[in-house]
């Protein structure tokens, strides 16, 4: 697969969309029209752009996505039009630009990005240009499952449209090769997603991952839009679509494959609602890891609480099968970081990476402007206020794929 990367340096709005030398001009009408396809006109948008360093707070974030376009196929198979040629051929992606969607609705939890000040430290989005589509619902009677799918449809269609503006540019070309076996140790990836129904879903090729059996995905497929997020629960510990597209385990794996190890790709599994389902996921991941002749596996989760059990069951099953493991997790360890950080553990867990403690309290600075709403979801603060909050409401702050450089340290 060939990845064409065009780096956006500035975004303006205009009557016609165009892209030239890093300047992306977006027609709001065309972007809205692209996003609204197949949604029965039940929505409208406010469209804004914000840049690093601005005193801007984005609230009620539902998803972040990397604009992506395939000349001869669907950029997000199952969501956008065209064939599924995921992981093959050419894909145009926009770098340094992220499409954020915001929406306030019961059941969707608060997610905040600050573009400057203390809060900006806890998000990689504060370092990118963000184009924000704030969704307004025009039909209050809509059924939740329909709404949940429409949110994902609008987000993927808009992302495909944005990258299509730059489809003729080719600033950087990278070839993504799926792994070739050699005699090095083989490393695989147990990639859990949290899919439990409307508004808490992850989709593989457009199908919800609820009750999904463990499934192999190649690195190229993951980078190329195979997984799309519709998961709008705890803000700091979920994986938006962009972090599937830019999954740091996949990225590091392919960049370093053939050096010290061969990276074989991901076994994607869902975090079941049932105890037996969790045992089955662990067992079938292990089965697949053995089929792939893995010597080592990295395990990541999405969400906390019950998801900790998936981590532990999988770690233990892999360990029992003779496969070495490393677990990446975030901590829910109280404001001082001294309470037990996970709700499940085992003596077989001996290699863990922490992506930070959700419960640590930070003080956000006052902002000049907010995007996505005038108040934060619990109504306790105006969106531009300075206030203290546990890290939990900061969008992807303790992301469990290991995107950020944050960890915890004893003091």
């Amino acid at each position: 697969m060939i990845l064409i990367q065009n780096t956006v340096k500035r975004v303006t709005f205009g009557d016609n969309s165009s892209y030239q030398n890093g300047l992306l001009t977006v027609s709001k009408e065309e972007l809205s029209a692209a996003a609204l396809k197949n949604t029965d006109g039940k929505y409208a948008f406010d469209i804004d752009v914000c840049c690093p360093g601005e005193k801007t707070r984005i609230v009620h974030i539902t998803d972040a996505i990397k604009p992506s376009y395939k000349p001869d196929a669907a950029a997000f198979p199952g969501w956008t039009e065209g064939e599924n040629k995921c992981g093959q051929g050419e894909t145009v992606q926009l770098e340094n630009l992220c499409l954020l969607q915001t929406f306030a609705y019961p059941g969707i939890q608060e997610g905040i990005v600050d573009m400057s000040g203390e809060g900006a430290k806890y998000s990689l989005f504060s370092k990118k240009i963000n184009l924000v589509m704030s969704v307004k619902l025009l039909d209050a009677a809509i059924e939740k499952p329909v709404l949940a799918k429409d949110l994902v449809r609008m987000q993927t269609q808009a992302a495909e449209y944005l990258a299509s503006i730059a489809k003729d540019a080719c600033e950087k070309k990278i070839e993504i090769n799926n792994p070739q076996p050699s005699s090095l140790p083989r490393v695989g990836y147990a990639y859990f997603v949290q899919a439990q129904g409307p508004l808490r879903n992850v989709f593989m090729y457009g199908k919800e991952c609820v009750n999904m059996k463990a499934t192999y995905l190649s690195p190229a497929e993951i980078i190329d839009g195979a997984l799309v997020s519709g998961n709008y629960i705890i803000a700091c510990q979920k994986n938006p679509t962009i972090y599937h597209q830019e999954n740091p385990v996949i990225r590091y794996g392919i960049a370093n494959s053939g050096k010290e190890m061969d990276f074989v790709g991901a076994i994607c599994a869902t975090e079941s609602n049932l105890l037996d389902g969790k045992r089955e996921s662990a067992a079938s991941i292990t089965q697949k890891a053995l089929e792939l002749h893995c010597d080592g596996m990295i395990i990541t989760q999405e969400g906390g609480g019950h998801a900790d059990v998936d981590l532990i069951f999988t770690n233990d099953a892999l360990t029992d099968a003779g496969i070495r493991t490393v677990v990446i997790a975030n901590e829910i360890a109280g404001p001082d970081g001294i309470l037990p950080p996970l709700v499940s553990f085992s003596s077989k867990v001996d290699a863990t990476i922490s992506t930070g403690n959700n419960d640590q309290v930070i003080e956000l600075d006052a902002m000049d402007k907010s995007i996505g709403g005038d108040a934060i979801s619990n109504g306790a603060h105006n969106a531009t206020d300075s206030f203290k909050t546990p890290l939990g409401i900061m969008y992807t702050a303790t992301n469990q794929l290991g995107v950020s450089n944050m960890t915890t340290k004893a003091y």
């Binding site: 609602n273 019950h306 059990v309 532990i312 709700v343």
Partner: protein
């Protein structure tokens, strides 16, 4: 955590939950296995009669757990 605080004052308390390892790690004294996370004492895909019977069997186990002398941890699956 709630059951532990209730047991701490001397009232036996049984936790009905699906994901047993969590209650076991957290340190509940009396645990009964539930059906599923969104419906710990329900199975909406079953006919009403069967669902009720399943719910009754879980509540019976819970009552049995409250009547049982516990040393360490009691888990009824």
């Amino acid at each position: 955590m709630l059951v532990k605080e209730i047991e701490r004052v001397g009232i036996p308390a049984v936790q009905i939950c699906t994901i047993l390892p969590i209650a076991q790690t957290v340190g509940a004294n009396r645990i009964v296995r539930a059906i599923a996370i969104p419906t710990p004492v329900g199975a909406p895909n079953l006919p009403a009669e069967e669902e009720k019977a399943l719910r009754e069997s879980i509540v019976s186990k819970a009552i049995r757990a409250l009547e049982t002398e516990v040393n360490g941890q009691l888990t009824i699956e």
